[in-house]
């Protein structure tokens, strides 16, 4: 059920079977998308733009970090603690795969509806 590497093969069964459970979740997908686009992103930006509580966001970040999809760096700017999140190469691949699978799913649904 979990694929994190390689390009999804459109001939390899239903696209749902290729979805990555770690990534296929609204908040985590949002984290990966923002980290991909921003190069690196701060905890506060993610919390605000994904409308999550600090605790909830921390849990999602922990899942992604354990899966090796993001790296978390903690530090200080002046007296203020800041947590920066960076996408790893595996995270980049996982995000690309997820988007490809979602597009496949949409295409399949549209094909089915059209028949």
């Amino acid at each position: 059920m979990t694929t994190t590497n390689g390009t999804p093969d459109p001939e390899a069964g239903h696209p749902v079977t290729g979805l990555d459970e770690v990534v296929h979740q609204r908040a985590r997908l949002g984290i990966l998308t923002i980290a991909h686009e921003a190069h690196r992103v701060e905890f506060g930006y993610l919390r605000t733009h994904l409308d999550l509580t600090a605790g909830n966001l921390s849990k999602h970040l922990s899942v992604l970090e354990t899966a090796g999809l993001i790296e978390i760096q903690k530090g200080y700017e002046g007296r203020r603690g800041r947590t920066w999140i960076t996408l790893t190469a595996a995270g980049n691949t996982a995000l690309a795969n997820e988007i490809a699978r979602l597009k496949q799913l949409i295409a399949r649904v549209e094909t089915t509806n059209g028949q």
Partner: protein, 231 residues
């Protein structure tokens, strides 16, 4: 681990739409287009006195004149490198304050590369022409455009195209194409422009004032647009 993990009907489309709008929001939050245009507009206007004072003009009795724009060669290379450094630093600081990273390296590289191209072309011309006959006047159109292309004012536009690509900023791309059309095809950046009786320095200043003013107007426009988006 599996909260919300199974897509309900229609969810893939919504997820993709969410991804796109998040990515778009990040790009908007990273943009500091007006700063880039403000710095480049200011650099253009500040460069005018350098061009004016550094220009050497030798007019012959037949009213034809030879000139050398040494001020351009002395002012623009360091000014452009400083400008691109300042823009990159502003982008990084602003993005960091918003909690984001910034992708300024390609723009800084493009800025440095265009500065090298312009400087090399102008030094080559300065070394070549004193010992070789000047080309027949008027110059063929393609040479005229090529001469304008390797000028600092056009190189600013080339680097702005790279910035528009990095920011995926259609507004900046359209503005830059209009700016490039102006400095390449309309304004006589390499011939000067003005009323009869104006000295050569003043004629060369006019196109620079117009291009600098356009960049500053662009900065004001993008600043207003950014403020509107933040509200």
């Amino acid at each position: 681990m599996t909260t919300e993990s199974v897509p309900a009907g229609g969810d893939p489309r919504r997820l993709l739409s969410d991804i796109r709008s998040l990515a778009h929001q990040v790009r908007l939050d990273q943009r500091m287009t007006w700063v880039a245009l403000l710095v480049l507009g200011a650099v253009t206007l500040v460069g005018i006195p350098f061009d004016w004072l550094g220009m050497t003009v030798h007019c012959r009795p037949d009213t034809s004149c030879e000139f050398a724009r040494r001020g351009v060669l002395l002012y623009w290379p360091p000014a452009l490198l400083l400008a691109y450094t300042a823009i990159a630093v502003c982008y990084m600081r602003a993005a960091r304050a918003r909690g984001l990273g910034a992708r300024t390296l390609p723009y800084a590289i493009a800025g440095a590369a265009t500065t090298v191209v312009f400087t090399t072309a102008w030094i080559a011309a300065a070394l070549y022409f004193p010992d070789h006959p000047l080309p027949d006047q008027p110059l063929p159109y393609r040479w005229l455009i090529l001469d304008r292309l390797v000028s600092p004012w056009s190189m600013i536009g080339i680097a702005l195209v790279v910035l528009a690509r990095i920011e995926r900023n259609l507004g900046l791309l359209l503005f830059t194409l209009a700016y490039l059309a102006l400095v390449l095809l309309v304004l006589p950046m390499n011939e000067g422009w003005g009323l009869a009786g104006w000295e050569l320095q003043a004629r060369f200043a006019v196109p620079q004032v117009i291009s600098g003013a356009l960049l500053l107007l662009g900065a004001a426009g993008f600043f207003r647009a950014a403020r509107r988006q933040q509200r």
